[in-house]
């Protein structure tokens, strides 16, 4: 049976919508994942329309991807109509000041256990540095040390990564510049090549 989905009530200023899928009724909210799709009743739909200003509508869609994009576009349009400007990331980072220690710990743990193992060293380091500026971290030694530990880990990993890159480059250099590699160590050769690259002179690697 072909799936029939439609939005039957929409809160354009909030990005929330009631969706009818075949006979079932769901409430869908950002971030629009499976867990943000909640089964609900007709009575709840009524309350939402009456008490919370959801607009009663009837918009059919072929699939959830199109439906979600529509909700997002309506939200962006509503924000634009109300004259709201999109905040910059720096402005949004002000939210870190409002984060509880539990939230900050969660961020640090994700950096430690997800970002670093995935090799996203720059992201982990940048997050730890952002958090270390916060009063909450300065006042909480455990959290501060956690962030500092991430910075050290990232630094160590970067050194290892650089060493590994040098090893790789050594192999490549030996092929390209047989005479020089025998005469000098690899690091000054790489430095010279980098300087040459920056000046835009011929023959970078």
């Amino acid at each position: 049976m072909k799936k029939e989905i439609k939005i039957i009530a929409l809160a354009p200023h909030d990005g929330w919508a009631f969706v009818e899928e075949n006979e079932d009724l769901f409430l869908l909210r950002p971030p629009y994942t499976v867990s943000s799709k909640i089964q609900c009743t007709a009575k709840e739909l009524e309350e939402a329309v009456v008490k919370h200003g959801y607009h009663s509508v009837n918009y059919p869609f072929k699939n959830y991807s199109e439906l979600i994009q529509f909700i997002k576009n309506e939200y962006i349009r509503a924000k634009k109509d109300s004259g709201t400007t999109t905040p910059t990331m720096e402005e949004l980072k002000e939210l870190l000041d409002y984060a509880s220690e539990d939230v900050l710990l969660r961020f640090l743990e994700k950096a430690d256990k997800e970002l670093i193992p995935e090799g996203k060293i720059e992201a982990a380091e940048s997050l730890a540095l952002d958090l270390m500026k916060l009063d909450k971290l300065i006042e909480n030694k455990k959290l501060f040390d956690h962030a500092l530990n991430i910075i050290y880990k990232c630094s160590d990993l970067r050194k290892k990564r650089n060493a590994w890159e040098i090893k790789l480059q050594e192999k490549s250099l030996k092929k390209k510049f047989i005479n020089i590699v025998g005469k000098y160590s690899v690091e000054p050769i790489i430095e010279r090549i980098r300087a040459t690259q920056q000046k835009g002179v011929l023959f970078p690697i």
């Binding site: 939402a48 939200y75 994700k110």
Partner: protein
């Protein structure tokens, strides 16, 4: 004009007049209870009497609007404002009823039937009785404003209904007799709450009483025609689960890129927190898992 107004019921007077009946009902229930349960019933009524407050759950856009304007508006007031804007900015004139009908669709009629029975029905502001917890956070109304008891006691009007108001509308008419039996004032609300929950009480631990009083499926509705302004609010409750959603976006933004939708969405949350701080309103995070 006065004739029409007089034909309508004064909900708050109905609530005052029902006091004796509620007190008698409560006494009857007490008689039925065994000694142990009677203590529980009295303790519960005492708990409600001490802790009751009103809660109004709002969506993000609603709470931001409230924090900016300083006055809570019901649906008709919001529509009136929208219409004034439409008329001024675009020269479009539409009636309030027309817009209300369009927005509420098939749900317009039962609401009108209820409100038409009462004086100032269109001015009704709906809230829920709350003795703790995050109120009726369904339909995206995840931010729970708490109007403390001492503020409610200063108001000129407040009535409580045993169940949600439109449930008294059946087949196009309002069941006035049932509604009269189910209405309480501020003085008897603790007794009405005990009456309503008498069956569940013996099996409900005291720590779960707030959830028993106000949950998604069952709650006591509060109605006032008084203005609810920012000065009435000193706490906003948010579930940890909801807060995590916003902070997950922030985490994403700190480690990679957010798209325009995500930035706007997170921006609304930031604006709210700043406005709460500016107005000296506490933010309470409630972990529903009890962690």
């Amino acid at each position: 004009m006065n004739k029409i107004s007089n034909a309508k019921l004064d909900l708050f007077e109905v609530a005052n007049q029902n006091a004796k009946r509620i007190e008698n009902n409560y006494k009857e229930i007490k008689k039925k209870y065994c000694v142990k349960d009677e203590t529980t019933l009295e303790e519960f009524a005492g708990f409600v009497k001490k802790n009751w407050a009103l809660s109004i759950n709002l969506k993000q856009s609603e709470i931001n609007g409230f924090l900016i304007s300083g006055i809570y508006q019901n649906m008709y007031q919001v529509i009136e404002d929208d219409l004034k804007k439409l008329s001024l900015e675009r020269g479009i004139n539409i009636s309030k009823e027309e817009v209300a009908k369009n927005r509420m669709g098939i749900f317009y009629e039962p609401r009108k039937i209820f409100e038409n029975q009462f004086e100032d029905g269109e001015r009704f502001i709906y809230a829920a009785l709350n003795t703790g917890g995050i109120g009726l956070k369904k339909h995206g109304a995840e931010f729970c404003l708490i109007v403390h008891q001492k503020e409610v006691k200063k108001m000129s009007s407040c009535a409580f209904l045993k169940k949600e108001s439109t449930l008294y509308v059946h087949n196009g008419s309002l069941n006035i007799e049932q509604l009269k039996n189910d209405t309480a004032s501020r003085k008897t609300i603790h007794l009405l709450t005990a009456i309503k929950n008498e069956k569940e009480l013996p099996d409900t631990a005291a720590k779960n009483w707030p959830e028993l009083v106000c949950n998604e499926k069952n709650y006591i509705e509060a109605i006032t025609t008084d203005d609810i302004s920012i000065e009435h609010i000193n706490t906003v409750r948010i579930s940890k689960k909801s807060e995590d959603i916003y902070f997950d976006y922030l985490y994403k933004g700190c480690i990679s890129q957010l798209d325009k939708f995500e930035k706007d969405y997170l921006g609304d949350f930031r604006d709210m927190l700043k406005l709460l701080e500016k107005n000296g309103i506490n933010k309470e995070i409630i972990d529903e898992k009890g962690n």
